[in-house]
Symmetry: C2
Subunit: 404 residues, 2 copies
């Protein structure tokens, strides 16, 4: 059996944790399996390197940022190999170049193009544990790239796909995927299994347990993932194509406080005005999330939408610049809002889910600002101060705490 | 004109020094030259990484040590590129793999086999300053190697050789090569020029200004070196094949306190005994320096030799183990000794140099324990407590403080 195991930065933050990870990998190795380990940089290394770079040049080029940041994972993998050698197990560390991880050239946000597994296969054949740097690739010019935050998950899934791994385990500091953030919802329940689509929607709306792109890739290549804790032996959550239908309509609730609402008020009510607003946003690389259009006074309409808080200032500036061309009479915004989403494949065949969610919020006297839905997700914008209450209300409303 | 400039770890230890180096390189660039910069790891980074590794595994494999340590130079070169970009000058950082620095596989002590200059040439043609990681190579398996301590000098010389550079400048924290260590001999004089052979002998006997192997390579490929300070504009010292003969018999004096004497007393006086002793040492990777053999009592002889202090304990252990086979009656040693050497191409044609040296030491009442000579060097073993007095006496004796 071939197992790919990925450990994040906090799992290798110091000597004790490095040995803890080494031992877990060695268990699999001694059971006769082939083991590929993907590591992130130790603890806060990546943030420290970014700070160092910004002290030299606040607008450092992405190529040089990638050259700098990838040293972090190279340190992790070499130390892990040393730890395994100290435990008398053959192991070898490989960086993205040695592991044949060929990526596109978009520094800071690269994607894998192909992986040449020859070296990894050769080392596995020699019965070594292979330790690969996560988060990084090499482009066709032999330059080093990074995949963006959370990219180590993607590295693990990509390797599992090309190596036809039997298992791909993503180790984190939580036990798995929960029906809601356990720090907010006390009786949140760990899920045994979840579909790729549900996981993807949850990742998109604020659940930080898995990087969205890695879930996309896992779905595309049919790599079954297990999310589990590096600190205990809990079974974790399986992420796969189909999950045995449970009685639950929805799988989980997620919240995202990093959101702000912008309203363009009194826009001329004729075809193309909405298109022009969102085209202007898009050209300036501002991601717009929920959109709501309502009828305004005297042949005008009001268009509201949400953006991430980081994008609020630039978005307002752009709207102000184009105010006339976009026929906007007035611009307003609100930073103190938050999104709450319910996700579940079960809702596709069940039209009552939205109503149930609204009822739960209504019963807790929580005001709904905006609504957005996908096939398997309903997202609602509420006041930020209400978000924890909203999470609990919805979690309760769908009886997610009940064990199946 | 193509200039290769090498800066050590202390020259890039912090933000201010990085910008200082960047500016010096940019001066050459703006004068129209092609500039290749070779950097070591920042400040004490290499030592810190070694310490980190040893905390995980005191006997870490050299392959993994090299994988770990080479991250240090990668950090330096990327930060330097960012600094140059901040000063609006095009620059690119390259690690050993990208710069085509192919080496042998002896991890921790590799040698360059060939350098594929295509990428460097391409970047120079695009009028970029090219910043290359010193100290490291890549072997034929795509694994990362290091050249051993001081290896960045070798990287600079190797690049200067293959790129047919017009100049190779080695920047350090001293003004150049001195007739003696200025911290010990107050009126030591900076040399304008010195030959490869003299520099090589000085490097071997304790002068730390240049790595011996880099001087060897510079001699082999006829690369003229300039040793100069990164902190001021002093002209530095040129290292080349032939230096205009000055009146001086010798070029410099160097001391080495890292030495210990071992004596094998009462060895059987028959052919092959000395060979057996040094063959045993060699097999155990112990480097023997000065050797002295004297007649002992009753058909025996005494054999003394020096080793570095690190090698003293293992050397004594080995002798003890083989005491009988080597027919040694008694083993003694002395850690409190030091070597003082005078070096100079002038002594080849002048037999009075040794006598002059011994006279200087005698006049200062310094006892000579052992003597060793090469064509252009005389080394004498003295008590460690006398070494500073000896340095000054010899420096004075040869009138090295006089300007020419």
């Amino acid at each position: 059996m071939l197992v790919v195991k990925k450990f994040g930065g906090s799992s290798v933050a110091n000597k004790e944790r490095i040995f803890n990870v080494a031992k877990r990998c060695i268990e699999d190795y001694k059971a006769g399996h082939d083991v590929v380990v993907v590591l992130s940089a130790m603890g806060d290394t990546t943030d420290e390197l970014i700070e160092l770079a910004h002290s030299i040049n606040p607008n450092a080029k992405k190529r040089e940022m990638d050259m700098l940041m990838t040293t972090g994972e190279q340190v992790s993998v070499s130390l892990m190999a040393m730890a395994m050698h100290a435990l008398d197990v053959p192991a070898v560390s490989l960086n993205a170049f040695q592991a044949g991880m060929v990526s596109t050239s978009s520094y800071g946000n690269a994607r894998f193009k192909r992986i040449d597994t020859k070296r990894i296969q050769h080392e596995l054949d020699a019965r070594k544990i292979v330790i690969v740097t996560g988060f990084q690739g090499v482009n066709k010019y032999d330059d080093i790239t990074t995949l963006g935050r959370g990219g180590s998950d993607t590295t693990a899934v990509a390797l599992a796909a090309v190596l036809h791994a039997d298992k791909c385990e993503i180790y984190t500091d939580v036990d798995g995927v929960y029906t809601a953030d356990p720090r907010v919802v006390k009786n949140a329940r760990k899920l045994d299994a979840i579909t790729y689509d549900e996981m993807l929607e949850l990742a998109t709306v604020g659940a930080k347990v898995l990087h969205g792109r890695s879930v996309e890739m896992a779905k595309k290549y049919g790599v079954e993932l297990v999310v589990r804790s590096s600190l205990n032996r809990s079974e974790g959550t399986v992420v796969k194509e189909k999950v045995k239908m449970e009685k639950m309509l929805i799988t989980g609730v997620a919240a995202d406080k990093n959101t702000a609402r912008i309203s363009a008020i009194g826009v001329e009510d004729k075809p193309g005005t909405a298109f022009k607003i969102f085209n202007t946003m898009s050209k300036n690389h501002i991601n717009v999330d929920i959109i709501l259009q309502s009828v305004g006074r005297e042949g005008t309409k009001d268009i509201s939408f949400t953006v991430s808080e980081d994008d609020l200032e630039p978005a307002l500036q752009i709207l102000e610049e184009h105010k006339e061309a976009l026929t906007i009479q007035q611009i307003s915004y609100n930073r103190d809002v938050a999104k709450i989403s319910v996700v579940g494949a079960g809702m596709m065949s069940n039209p009552g889910v939205a109503a149930k969610m609204f009822e739960s919020l209504y019963n807790s006297r929580i005001n709904i600002n905006m609504i957005s839905t996908s096939e398997i997700r309903i997202t609602v914008l509420v006041d930020e101060k209400d978000i924890d209450k909203a999470m609990n209300a919805v979690h309760e409303g769908f009886a997610l705490a009940l064990t199946d």
